[in-house]
Symmetry: C2
Subunit: 424 residues, 2 copies
């Protein structure tokens, strides 16, 4: 008998019919001899609807109360799923994050899981029940107030529960068929990746692939929880995220240099111009940004040329750009730079794969593929298993397709894969 | 500084505008120097909507999960009210029934409050916050599962909290102006009762006046909590329910024999015909009913006339009638009666008032008023401060008006009172 955690997102429980479909799958998994814990998101647009209500009574609602409000969404879908399972003749109990023992920090709206004390869950499993846990929520260790983990964090709840319960694996049901070698809406020849290791999945998630939340993959890697990303609309296998794939990440090809191509259109590039080329001035720029709790992705510092100044460029989430620029403007006199310019019409394209570790030729092949079709690269960043470039936003689709072809990832048949979902 | 509990029903928080209006009233109460605890119901039709969702996934949902589901409604309105209070510059924290320390039995859907441990509430009050408590819910002492107290029980939560917190009084905001001497939709000359004692309010609630839940009044009497029933749509005083009114319950009249006239159309009369007139047979009838957990109101046993049988009539909630008759049919051979007939076209009219204790003439005046307009009485029941009669359903409005006039309750001006609400 295996213990399994299954997570279903909002689109899988959008209405009564969808909930009944999820119930069927859960009961089948139990009937196959498994202990089943289900983590559930709020129904369809429920969270957005609650957020709208909040905005109407208070445009800037206190975080504690917003968490009290939003967590009602998962509580509702959890109770309904338990009822639907009961209607199929099995028994189920639903728990809030708090009841399930999901202990978090007190950072309302963006809490982190500190610990899970799954006593009630284990007890219910021992009694033969399916256990439903409201995702996305927990209870703060110190204040005992209800918290939320940030959007999309039901995946993290599921993986954390799988780790705490010693589950054999964690299934993440979504509206796509798995993780692909590129976004099939941009690269029609993209293929599903049957298995991928945690590091590659981390790089994909961090560089624009939205299929799994970054924090969820970090958790899975740290706790070594095998994660199966699959479609809730089919019974086909999806993508296994594991420590050591027993088939090459690239799928069929033994010698794959890279596993996938990710892209990200959500960043902007900010350039601070005329920074005095003296020790500590560049550091001041990043101290200001850090104090605003804004994350920076890529950085390029241009060498001094004619005068005694330098230019510093960095990328960050475009949503953080106004705040970052505002903060830098306030520190302009102190740092002594002359101007700030920005460009939000950029995109990042990354090639990712453990195969590149032992192949120095990857960078050359990537850049050459882009040069051949006349795409200009404005920034470059690398890790051991990733190369990212910043290009113009309009060049991103062509760059993704060129890299996908150059590294031999196109499906052999030359046919476009069937792609069920919206690329979420 | 007084500590006050205010309860607002679903119609008072039906939308964002209503919630803002409640927030204003709450903040004003705090600014007058009070510590304020607010008990809140779910928004408008929220509970019905959730119930509909439940029915769609499971026509017979398990009680534990139904309680998990329905309690989301009050959680939502509580959080929204806290946000609305924050928007007015005060601070508020919302608590679920469980967080507020409302400990109940485990009878899902109809739990009873066992105890209240208001530690978190007191702590929040000490920090200067308004405290919002989700009504209608608690947590089961043994299972730690979330429970509901049954519909309309937010009033009970409010009174129980007022008792546990040593509040000066409990205000129940509703959509009518208070308790009236009769239902103004039937008796236009009915007047608001400024003060009424617990016993009279209990009799009114038990005999058809729907303004306060029976259990709430019982709780208020036991714990001696003054309750102020008033309209959330005006600043006019409503009705104070207290131990010892310092003005006569009837209002202006010193010598009022009765305080109000209540009526109830929700009962039916069942007659068991041909019960053998031997010791224990009548008792068997009521044992059968009691085993079904059905409450009986009035009972009449007819004396034997020609044969050795008797007829037993009783009234009960019409909703329980099919179940009761079914149960009796199954026991027909055992008890030995010949038939069961029923009449659901009946109504009960009750005159209530502590004034009748010392006035033996009340019964005569009541019956005479009905006889004068040709109304036939089919059953009679009395308590120390109440006389109830069963009449034909069509006769109820005339009977209410006749009693109201006969006991001098009509407003002196002869004008109909302004009646804000729907008589809920």
């Amino acid at each position: 008998m295996a213990r399994v955690v299954q997570k279903f997102g909002g689109s899988s429980v959008a209405d009564a019919e969808s909930i009944a479909r999820v119930a069927r799958r859960v009961v089948e998994t139990q009937q196959e001899g498994n202990e089943v814990v289900v983590v559930i998101s709020a129904m369809g647009d429920a969270t957005d609807d609650l957020m709208d209500l909040a905005q109407r009574v208070n445009p800037n609602p206190p975080g504690r109360e917003l968490d009290m409000l939003l967590t009602a969404g998962e509580r509702i879908s959890a109770a309904l799923l338990a009822m639907a399972i009961d209607a199929r003749g099995a028994t189920a109990v639903s728990y809030t994050g708090s009841q399930a023992g999901v202990i978090t920090t007190a950072a309302h709206g963006n809490a982190r899981i500190i610990d899970i004390t799954p006593g009630r869950i284990v007890s219910a499993l021992n009694q033969g029940h399916v256990v439903i846990v409201a995702g996305f929520q927990g209870v703060a260790q110190d204040t005992k107030d209800v918290t939320t983990l940030g959007r999309g964090a039901s995946d993290t709840t599921a993986v954390a529960l799988a780790a705490a319960l010693g589950a054999e694996y964690c299934e993440i049901y979504t509206d796509v068929d798995g993780v692909f070698t590129a976004d099939p809406r941009i690269a029609p020849q993209a293929r599903r990746i049957p298995q991928i290791n945690y590091e590659e999945m981390l790089e994909l998630a961090a560089n624009g692939a939205k299929i799994l939340h970054l924090r969820c993959v970090e958790y899975a890697r740290r706790e070594q929880v095998p994660v199966h990303v699959r479609s809730s609309f089919s019974d086909q296998p999806g993508t296994w995220v594991v420590a050591a794939p027993d088939i090459p990440s690239g799928g069929i090809m033994e010698d794959a240099l890279i596993t996938g191509v990710a892209h990200d259109l959500s960043e902007a590039k900010v350039t601070v111009v005329g920074v005095p080329d003296r020790p500590g001035r560049a550091a001041r720029v990043f101290e200001v940004i850090a104090a605003l709790d804004v994350n920076i992705d890529m950085i390029v510092q241009n060498a001094s040329v004619s005068d005694d100044t330098t230019a510093i460029s960095f990328t960050l989430a475009d949503a953080d750009r106004p705040r970052a620029i505002e903060g830098l403007r306030l520190a302009q006199r102190d740092i002594g730079f002359t101007d700030i310019i920005y460009d939000d019409m950029i995109g990042k394209v990354s090639v990712i794969g453990v195969g590149m570790r032992s192949h120095p030729g990857v960078t050359a092949r990537f850049f050459s593929a882009l040069a051949t079709i006349g795409i200009n690269i404005s920034m470059i960043a690398t890790s051991e298993i990733r190369i990212s470039v910043v290009v113009g936003e309009d060049d991103v689709p062509a760059a993704v397709r060129a890299a996908h072809t150059a590294f031999g990832l196109d499906s052999e048949s030359g046919e476009a894969v069937v792609y069920a979902g919206t690329g979420r």
